[in-house]
Amino acid sequence: MGIVNQGVIKTSAIGSVIGESSILAPKSERHKREVHAELLLTALIDAFSILVIFLLMSFSSAGDLIVVGKGIELPKAAMGDQLDRQPVVKVEGGKLFVEDKQVQEANLVQALLDLRKKFQETRPGEEFPGIITIQGDRRLKYEQLNSIVLASSQAGFSDIKFAVISSN
């Protein structure tokens, strides 16, 4: 009972289920030994505070803007800019995907034009930004990306954002 009445532990006592009614050592017969087991809550709060500060510092309000494909390992860059939500063209396993929908290389320009048309329909009067995000594996050869660069240019997407992993 002593530990319950003392200090901080009064409000956070972890009392034994057996408590003082143990049949192995009944209250009347056993020699009562005082056990002081105060929990150091201040240290726990310190650790929690440090964790919260660390997590808040690494918190990104932008969230997961793009889902990196399974077989894709993005290249690393230290001077990358912040990524915005823009149409994504992905090269995964030699196949082309526009907004996660597989397209043939020959139909890429049409798929991008459809995206542009959709933008103009959903946001009438708003200037078309012409920005596209390209996602590809770091080991890709440029000849595989060239078709996307050319198709983007033809469809009016003049600004290209290559998705990278920020290395800083």
């Binding site: 956070s12 050869k141 954002k161 992993i165």
Partner: protein
Amino acid sequence: MSLKKKKSLDFEVNLIPFIDLLSTCICFLLLTAVWVNVASMNVKQAVGGQAAEAGTKKPTMWVAMAPNGDLTLDVKDARVPAKLAKFSIPGTQGKPNLELLGQAVSQLKSSEPALNTALIQPTAASVYEDIIGLMDGFKKSGVTDLGVSPL
């Protein structure tokens, strides 16, 4: 000396609500944390970008990538010494030598501070990682307007 019994000044702060609050914060932040930080390397297509700014002649650096990692820099519309107007940087182990590139760009920038544009000309065999590395190297050296030319 007063005979009245002194009231104890010790008080206890109930720490349980603090622990509850911090635990909730930690759970929320852990669940919403984005561990992979995806960024972007912004470029303008060389051909389109040039056409839009046909009237103005900005100092521009054309960077041709060779399959063996060699880089050839050709500086146009800039007042730079003749030896820096066009030169090559040999690659190392098939990749561009970014350290030498950084030094060369620093020299160019000291001669022509307005040199902020670089147009990269990769080959069909150029590796995507090397192109991004090159762009990153240019950005580190203060060359921020980047372009990639199609094949």
